[in-house]
Amino acid sequence: MYKIEAKNLNALFQMIAADQELYLPVRSGGQVNFAYWHKDAEVDLETLNSVKSPKDAFFPQSENLYTVKRDAGRMSIEPEELKNQKFVIFGIRPCDVKGVEVLDRVFLVDPLDTYYAARREHGTIVSMACSEPEETCFCKVFGIDCGEPAGDVAVWKVGDEFYWKPVTGKGEALTAKVVSLFDEADETKVEAQKEAVRKIADRLPYSNLSLDGWDGGALEEKFDSILWEELHKPCLACGTCTFVCPTCQCYDIKDYDTGSGVQRYRCWDSCMYSDFTMMAHGNNRTTQMQRFRQRFMHKLVYFPANNDGMYSCVGCGRCVAKCPVSLNIVKVVKAFQDRGGDQ
């Protein structure tokens, strides 16, 4: 394990960014979001959650897939070049790292999504443990230890020092490049902080949320529950929850006419929208209740059924904080928990 003083972080960023892109939480326009580092960027490692999740480092909000060109009436297809440059994503929280693992289960299974896979291959994840989880956090419910993040390198902020621990081969390689800025360190302070943060996590209001009964086997019972009708009522179908979510991966494929050809791109989409499932011959989810139910059934029942019990929620709390009508996955789980016999 190594350490670096907070005042030397800028030198670290500069060294990392010397030959590759560095993507990290930056404050801009009153919001913190992941953005590319530059020397004047206002890096913010204090804010717990970026407004948008950092999933777009691997699964951009929109990306070109290929371009169709026309020449003398004949079409040709030019696939978009895949990511071929290394980059580092720094300061990604334990819940969001788990979110990447969830996305891997979607995009890295056969048939491989080559666009996503190229970014994963070229990206090195430097995660940052939490020291002060917030009241909206419930990562513990999904088995995530916010004191011990996954990733290629794990970082802990203790006082004015940042502790750095390479975890994977990629992490070792990155460490080798910047080790001249580090001092050797023992793990005493980090271990003490892990213990402290685990105690905080235990006391968070949502940490006692129970996922008992949310597994693939309970599909029919959950699907047919009368609770959905009541729960969905305030939903505005704005889709905010899906856009800030680190695991939502639904996408649309669209065309942009450039005048000389057509760019086919994909962009994030939302199962909350009424046209999401609409076809020329009809729509299989015509009501907001059905769309609302789909989102939570997918995260808590369908996805785990296909992925060895892994839920497609990581408890980051963004939907809890951002939903304009305070509707979220916590309310759903609680309703089923409290009124299990009333389904």
């Binding site: 169709v68 297809i77 979607v106 999401f276």
Partner: protein, 284 residues
């Protein structure tokens, strides 16, 4: 498969299509056309199995999932029978032979022609454009006639003018030994001497024995009543196959649109046995 004529150079992301040439367009009914598609240098774009689908794309318009209606035993080209009912299909219907389109696939599972269906007596039940996916199986079975028992085809549509692939039905299917074709139309019309009545009713009148495996495809309302009729006739749920159709964008189980329960229709379907359909949430 041996003797593959598909375009070997195509190996990249599954979302990237190939260019295909529409080499023939047949007007089947007032609103259904069958498009023959070849690779630019001739031959098929890819190999497929009966029941599989492909994304047909017109750049700048849209792309949509269509069942491949030709049989894999057709070594030369692939066909799509497409009903005019939306933005993309309107555009496709305005295209002419010689035009380029883009196609990606094949996607999804297929009817188990080499396993569960082998050696069985088969009962095909189709309504309207629902014949498109079944036609692939029917021609496959006819071309491998020795591997299957009796073949019964019950096919109905709104009117005699709306029967798809009528020429092939009359010239090939009706003339193949051991194949019985039973046509029906919804309403009486001049020049029609065949049966009049809805498919589920006609099915019960024909009264098939339950020693068959049924393959059903058509509008949802027809499927619903056909399944009820088959149950009444003593068919078990595991003797009946159908296809589901939901909105799709990617075709590979990632974009989320066709998710139903823990299944993705594009990847785990479109072919489902009816006992599998029963396990899905009622949202299709």
């Amino acid at each position: 498969m041996s003797g593959c004529t598909c375009n070997k150079e195509h190996r990249q992301d599954t979302l990237i299509p190939q260019i295909g040439i529409i080499t023939d367009i047949r007007q089947e009914t007032p609103d259904v056309k069958t498009f023959r598609v070849d690779a630019p240098g001739g031959g098929k774009l890819f190999e497929h199995l009966p029941g599989q689908c492909a994304m047909v794309c017109v750049p700048g318009v849209s792309e949509g999932m269509f069942s491949i209606t030709s049989s894999p035993t057709n070594r030369e080209f692939q066909e799509f029978s497409i009903k005019q009912c939306g933005i993309l299909t309107d555009y496709l219907h305005s295209m002419e032979a010689g035009s380029e389109i883009m196609v990606r696939g094949p996607y999804g599972n297929h009817f188990p022609v080499e396993t569960e269906l082998k050696g069985r007596n088969l009962l095909f039940i189709a309504g309207g454009i629902g014949l498109a996916p079944l036609r692939s199986v029917i021609n496959y079975v006819i071309d491998n006639r020795g591997n299957y028992g009796t073949i019964d085809i019950v096919y109905g549509s709104r009117s005699a003018d709306d029967l798809v692939q009528l020429k092939e039905i009359q010239d090939v299917w009706m003339k193949t030994e051991g194949v019985n074709v039973h046509l029906t139309v919804d309403q009486e019309q001049e020049g029609w001497n065949g049966n009049v009545g809805f498919v589920p009713t006609y099915l019960k009148e024909l009264g098939f024995s339950n020693d068959k495996t049924a393959l059903v495809c058509g509008p949802p309302i027809m499927i619903k009543f056909v399944l009820a009729a088959l149950t009444e006739m003593g068919f078990g749920k595991d003797q009946v196959y159908t296809t589901l159709e939901l909105r799709m964008k990617c075709g590979v189980g990632k974009c989320g649109r066709c998710n139903i329960g823990s299944k993705y229709v594009c990847k785990d379907g479109p072919v489902f046995r009816c006992d599998e359909v029963d396990e899905l949430p009622d949202e299709y």
